[in-house]
Amino acid sequence: MSAPKKERWTADSSSGPAATTSGGTASEAEVRSSGGSCLWAGRGRLPRLGGRAGMAAAASGAGAGAAQEKQFPPALLSFFIYNPRFGPREGEEENKILFYYPNEVEKNEKIRNVGLCEAIVQFTRTFSPSKPAKSLHTQKNRQFFNEPEENFWMVMVVRNPIIEKQSKDGKPVVEYQEEELLDKVYSSVLQQCYSMYKLFNGTFLRAMEDGGVKLLKERLEKFFHRYLQTLHLQSCDLLDIFGGISFFPLDKMTYLKIQSFINRMEESLSIVKYTAFLYNDQLIWSGLEQDDMRILYKYLTTSLFPRHIEPELAGRDSPIRAEMPGNLQHYGRFLTGPLNLNDPEAKCRFPKIFVNTDDTYEALHLIVYKAMSAAVCFMIDASIQPTLDFCRRLDSIVGPQLTVLASDICEQFNINKRMSGSEKEPQFKFIYFNHMNLAEKSTVHMRKTPSVSLTSVHPDLMKILGDINSDFTRVDEDEEIIVKAMSDYWVVGKKSDQRELYVILNQKNANLIEVNEEVKKLCATQFNNIFFLD
C-alpha cells in the first residue's frame, strides 16, 4: 500500500460530519478545533497565524541569507476521472477509469489510486450523504474530489510546495509546506476543468449517449491531454475562486451604440443565436447565460485572445501583417475560422461549444471576430455549417462597422479617463467581486497572460485574501475582517450583501482606525454608485 503515512481528511466547510449533526457556528468551530492545529481551519486563531508569519519571513528572507534554499511551487501530480459504476466487480476495476494523467503510471497503481478515492468518498458519505469529502490533505500532496455529474468523479492531486534546504551535513532536506494550498482555490480549479471540458464537449452523459464509453474516453483524452498543460497551478489564487468577469467601464451612449450594433448584426446575420461583445479583453455584452459566459470568458481571455497577437499593432511591413488579407477597408479579422477569406480553399471550421446544458442543451459554433481591441463572438446553431460565403458576408458587414465602433469606444474611453482623471496608478490594491453579476475588478493582478497571472503583491498576501474569502463563505451575513499582515501591510475584507471587497494597504504605523478610514475613503471613491455598507 503506497498510501501516504500522514493523512487527514477534511470536508467542505458546511458539510463536515459534525456540521450535519449540529450545524451551528459554535459547534463548527469546535469541530475544527478538534481537527488539530495542522488542519487549515480556524477563524482568529492566533497561534496559526503567527506561524504563517514566520514562514513568510522565511520566504522573504530567502533571497538574502539562505542561498542553498530552493523552492518548488505546487505542481500537478495526477488527474483522473472515473465512474465507479463502470467496473463494480473485482477484476474489472480498470473499466472505471475514464481518463488518467499521467498515462504512464502503471495500471495497478491507477486502480489503487482510484480505489482509494472511491473509498474515501464512500466513507465520508456515511456522515454527509449529500456532500461527501471534497479534499484530502496529506503531507506531500492534496487531493481534490469533484463529482460534476452523477457518479462521474474527477480527482486532481496537487503536490504541496516544497522547500529544499541544505542540512549541515550537506544533504538536501525536503520540507513539504502542507498548509500553503487553499482548498477553495484548487477545488475551483477542478470545477473549472469540468466547465471548460463541458463548454467544448458537452456533458459526460451526452458523450455516453452518443458513443458510449469509448467516445467519452476519446473526448476526455483529447481535451485534457492539452488542457492540463495550461493549468499553471502555482499561480492560482482568489480570482480562480470567483471565476469572475471583468466588465469594461463605458458610458451609456457608447453602450447603447454597441447594443444597437449587436441587434443589427443579429438581424442581418439571422442565423446568429447569441452574441457577446468584448473590448480590451473585458466584457461589455453577453447574450449567454451567466454561467456559460463565465467559462467562455475564461477561455477567451486566457487562451484565445493571448494566442493572437494584435497584427494591427504590428508594423505595416511586419510578417504578421503580411499574412493578413489585403483588406484596407477595415481591421476586422476572424480569430476562429478562416484566416484568409480570399483563399477559396479556406476552411470554415469553428470551435463547437455547448451551452445551457442543464436545460435546452444547445450546441453552437463559436465565431470570434475582432477589429482592433473590440471582439465579437457570434454563436450560431451547430446544425448550420457556416460557409465561406457566409464568412465573407459577415466580414463585409461586421468588419467596417466594428472598426468604427472600436475607435468610437477607444475615443470615448479616453475622454472618460481624462474626465475622471483618476487613472493614475491607484494607491490601493484591491479585488472586488459581485456574486450577482460575476463582476470582478482587480488592481492586484497585472494583465493575464496565457501562462501566468501576474500579481503585484506578495503571494502570502494573496493567501490571506483566500483565507478571508473562506471565512466569508461560512456565514451569510455581512461582515468585515481586518488583518494585520507582515511588515506594514493591512488586509481588509468586506462583504456586503453579495459583494466582496479585499483591500491591501501598506501604510507605515497605521492603526486600525486609520485603516478603517482609508477603506471608507476607497469605497467612497471607487464604489460610490453601489449600495455598499461601510
Partner: protein, 694 residues
C-alpha cells in the same frame, strides 16, 4: 388604381356659385378668396361667397356698364368696381355710412388701368400699363388720397396677398420682373430680376406670359414659380418649374428646379408647402417638396417628383338641391377640365360648373407610395397634419408582416427625435429667456409653436410602442431591439428618457425571463435611476433575486431615497445594516428607535436586539445626556425591552467581555463613541484578526 392610391383630393365642401353665363359674370378675388357672381352688371344682384363664410353677401348695384373687376377690401369694408379702363368706383360697406358710390381716376394721363389690388382694408393699388399708384381710401370723405406712385411700363401684373407683393412684368419681352412690397401705408420697390427664357427669343414680342408665372409662400419664404416649357439644356426635353426665391431684402435668386419630365399644359398649386403640378394631357398631378434632398449642382437644386404621378381623387358633385330624398345620384365631376382655373395657393375653380375647391394632400396613401422610410419621414415631418400618419407609419414598420430592418427603424427614430429635440431646445430657450428677464424681453419672445411634427415619448409610447410590445407574434428579440433603438436615439439627442419607457423595457424583459439582459442594462445605467424603477425592481426580487441588489444600488445613487433604503433593509430583517446605513449618512440622531427595535425583536435574535437597544441608549446619552428614551418612545422601548430583559445579563456581559478581548489584543484604546456596536456584534468572532507583528 385603388381608392388608396390618390394622394390629392378636392375639398369635400366646395364653394358653390352660379355658373358663368352671358348674363352672369364670375370674378375671383385672390386676396379674400371670394367669388363674385355679378348678374346683369349687378342690377339683378351680386352674390359674394368666400370659402369660410357660411352666409354669402348679396347686394344689388346700379348697372353702370360692364364690370371688369370687382373686389372687397380686407374685412369686406369697401367694395371696389372697375367698369372703365380709367376709373374705379367705390362704395362703402361700413354700417351707418353712405352707400353712395365715389370714383377715382388713375393719375397718369393716357394710362389704362390693368387692374387693382387691395393691400389692407383701406389701401388700394392701381396697376396701369404705365405704372402703379398706391392710394389710401377715406370712406368717410368718400375720396382717395394718393400715397405713392411709380412710372414703369407694365405688360401684366400679379399679386400675392400672403406676401403683399405685386409683381410687374416689364420690358418688351416681359421677362424682367419688378416686385413691389406693401406694408402699412408704405410701398417699397424690391430689386428687379430677369427670368431666363427657354431660348433666345426670335422676335421682340412679349415672351413671358402671365400664365407661366405664379407666386406662393413655401416654408415661409416667398417664391416666384416659373413654368419653363422647354428646358434650356437640350438633353432633357421635359418642362420644368424654376423657383426664384424672393426675399424681403436682397436680390431674387434662382434656387430650385422641379423636373417635370413631360410637356403639355400645366397648372401650379401650392398645398401644405408642396408644389403641385397638374398636367392636363395625362390628367395627373405630381408633387414636389423643396425641403427633400435633391441634386445640388452648385447653384440650384434639382428636384424630381416625390411620388409617381396620380390623378386627383375622382370627385362626385353632390346632388343638387337640399331635398333629402332625391333619386338623383351624384354626378362624377370632370377633373382637369379645360374650364378649370387655378389660383394660388390651393384654389381650383370651375367657372362652368360653379364650384371653387381647395386642393388637399392626403398623407395616408403616400405611406405606401414612398418605400424609402427615411425619405417618407422627411416628407411627413414637414406636413401640417402629420402626427397620426407618422405614428401609423411607425406602427406599420414594426408589424411582423411589414417589418422594417433595424437600421431603417433607427433612421426613422432619429428623424423623429431630431424634430422633437429642436422643439425641446426652443421651449427651453424660451423658458430661460422668460426667467432671465420677464418684462424687458418684449415681443421678441414668442413661445415656440408645437407643430404636429413633434412626436414625443408619450405619443410613441401610447400609439406605437406599448401596442407593439403586446403583440404576441413579434419575437421578443425584435421587441427589445426596437425599444433599445428608440432609447438610443433619445439618448443620442440628449433627451431625457421617461421612466415609462424604461418600465416597458423591464416589463418585456421580465415577461421573457431575460433577467441577465436586464441586469446588464442596469449595470451600464441604460435604464436611468428613478424611484419608480427601483420599486419595480424590488417587486421582481422573487423572480430574480439579484433585483434586490440592483434596487438598493439604484436607491443609493438617487441619494434622495434614504428612507426607502432603510425600509427595504428592515423588511429584510437586516436591522444592523439599516442602522449602519443611516449612521453612515449621519441620520441616526433623528430616527425613531421604535422602528428599529421592532424589527430587531422580530428577528428573535436577542444579541441583535441588545445591540440595537444599546445603540439607542448611547445615542440618547449623547444627545440628551441621559440614556433613557423620550416619553413617546419610552413605553414602546421598555415594552420591547421587557421581553428581552432576561438576556441582558448573559448577552451583555458576554458581548462586553468579547469586546475587550478583541480590542485589547490590538493594544488600542478606544472610546465608547468610536466603538461600533453594530460591527462588533455582527462579527463577534471575526472582528479583527491579527496576523502578525502586533
Amino acid at each position: 388604381m385603388g381608392e388608396e392610391d390618390y394622394y390629392l383630393e378636392l375639398c369635400e365642401r366646395p364653394v358653390h356659385f352660379e355658373k358663368a353665363n352671358p348674363v352672369n359674370c364670375v370674378f375671383f378675388d385672390e386676396a379674400n378668396k371670394q367669388v363674385f357672381a355679378v348678374r346683369s352688371g349687378g342690377a339683378t344682384g351680386v352674390v359674394v361667397k368666400g370659402p369660410d363664410d357660411r352666409n354669402p353677401i348679396s347686394f344689388r348695384m346700379e348697372d353702370k356698364g360692364e364690370v371688369k373687376c370687382i373686389k372687397f377690401s380686407l374685412e369686406n369694408k369697401i367694395l371696389a368696381v372697375q367698369r372703365t379702363s380709367k376709373t374705379v368706383d367705390f362704395s362703402n360697406f361700413i354700417p351707418d355710412s353712405s352707400q353712395l358710390e365715389y370714383t377715382q381716376e388713375c393719375k397718369t394721363k393716357n394710362a389704362n388701368i390693368l387692374g387693382f389690388c387691395w393691400t389692407s382694408s383701406t389701401e388700394i393699388v392701381f396697376i396701369t400699363d404705365q405704372g402703379i399708384e398706391f392710394y389710401q381710401v377715406l370712406p368717410e370723405k368718400r375720396n382717395l388720397k394718393l400715397l405713392k406712385s411709380q412710372n414703369i411700363n407694365v405688360n401684366w401684373y400679379m399679386y400675392c396677398p400672403e406676401g403683399s407683393v405685386i409683381l410687374l412684368s416689364t420690358t418688351v419681352l416681359g421677362n424682367v420682373l419688378q416686385p413691389f412690397y406693401f406694408r402699412a401705408g408704405t410701398m417699397s420697390k424690391l430689386p428687379k430680376f430677369e427670368i431666363e427664357l427657354p431660348a433666345a427669343p426670335k422676335s421682340t414680342k412679349l415672351s413671358l406670359s402671365e400664365r407661366d408665372i405664379a407666386m406662393a409662400t413655401i416654408y415661409g419664404q416667398l417664391y416666384v414659380l416659373f413654368l419653363r416649357h422647354h428646358s434650356r439644356t437640350s438633353n432633357s426635353a421635359g418642362a420644368e418649374v424654376v423657383l426664384y426665391h424672393l426675399p424681403r431684402e436682397g436680390a431674387c435668386k434662382k434656387m430650385h428646379i422641379l423636373k417635370l419630365n413631360r410637356t403639355g399644359k400645366f397648372a401650379l398649386n401650392v398645398v401644405d408647402n408642396l408644389v403641385v403640378v397638374h398636367h392636363q394631357d395625362t390628367e395627373t398631378s405630381v408633387i414636389f417638396d423643396i425641403r427633400l434632398r435633391g441634386e445640388f449642382d452648385g447653384s440650384v437644386t434639382l428636384h424630381h417628383p416625390v411620388l409617381p404621378a396620380r390623378s386627383i381623387q375622382p370627385y362626385q358633385i353632390p346632388a343638387a338641391g337640399p331635398a333629402p330624398v332625391t333619386s338623383q345620384s351624384p354626378v362624377p365631376c370632370k377633373l382637369y377640365s379645360s374650364s378649370w382655373i387655378v389660383f394660388q395657393p390651393d384654389i381650383i375653380i370651375s367657372a362652368s360648373q360653379g364650384y371653387l375647391w381647395n386642393l388637399q394632400v392626403k398623407l395616408q396613401p403616400i405611406v405606401n407610395l414612398l418605400p424609402d422610410k427615411g425619405r417618407l419621414m422627411d416628407f411627413l415631418l414637414q406636413r401640417k397634419e402629420c402626427k397620426m400618419v407618422i405614428l401609423s407609419v411607425c406602427s406599420q414598420m414594426l408589424t411582423e408582416s411589414d417589418r422594417a430592418t433595424l437600421p431603417v427603424i433607427a433612421t426613422v427614430f432619429d428623424k423623429l427625435n431630431q424634430e422633437y429635440k429642436k422643439y425641446l431646445d426652443a421651449e427651453q430657450n424660451y423658458t430661460m429667456a422668460v426667467e432671465a428677464g420677464q418684462s424687458r424681453s418684449g415681443p421678441l419672445l414668442r413661445r415656440p409653436v408645437r407643430t404636429q411634427a413633434v412626436v414625443d415619448q408619450s405619443d410613441m409610447y401610447t400609439h406605437v410602442l406599448s401596442v407593439f410590445t403586446e403583440k404576441k407574434e413579434t419575437p421578443h428579440k425584435f421587441v427589445i431591439a426596437v425599444l433599445m433603438e428608440y432609447i438610443r436615439s433619445l439618448n443620442q439627442f440628449q433627451i431625457t428618457v421617461q421612466h415609462y419607457l424604461h418600465e416597458l423595457v423591464i416589463r418585456t424583459l421580465v415577461q421573457h425571463s431575460l433577467f441577465s439582459t436586464l441586469h446588464q442594462f442596469l449595470q451600464y445605467h441604460v435604464l436611468s435611476d428613478s424611484k419608480p424603477l427601483a420599486c419595480l425592481l424590488l417587486s421582481l426580487e422573487s423572480f430574480y433575486p439579484p433585483a434586490h441588489q440592483l434596487s438598493l444600488d439604484m436607491l443609493k445613487r438617487l441619494s434622495t431615497a434614504n428612507d426607502e433604503i432603510v425600509e427595504v433593509l428592515l423588511s429584510k430583517h437586516q436591522v444592523l445594516a439599516a442602522l449602519r446605513f443611516i449612521r453612515g449618512i449621519g441620520g441616526h440622531d433623528n430616527i425613531s428607535a421604535r422602528k428599529f427595535l421592532d424589527a430587531a425583536k422580530q428577528t428573535e435574535d436577542h444579541m441583535l436586539f441588545y445591540t440595537i437597544f444599546r445603540f439607542f441608549e448611547q445615542r440618547n446619552q449623547r444627545l440628551r445626556g441621559n440614556p433613557s428614551f423620550t416619553p413617546g418612545e419610552n413605553r414602546a422601548a421598555r415594552k420591547l425591552w421587557g421581553s428581552h430583559i432576561q438576556y441582558q445579563e448573559i448577552t451583555g456581559g458576554w458581548g462586553g467581555a468579547r469586546k475587550l478581548l478583541v480590542w485589547r489584543t490590538l493594544g488600542l484604546v478606544l472610546k465608547e463613541q468610536n466603538f461600533v456596536p453594530a460591527r462588533i456584534s455582527l462579527s463577534l468572532f471575526t472582528v479583527v484578526r491579527v496576523d502578525s507583528g502586533c
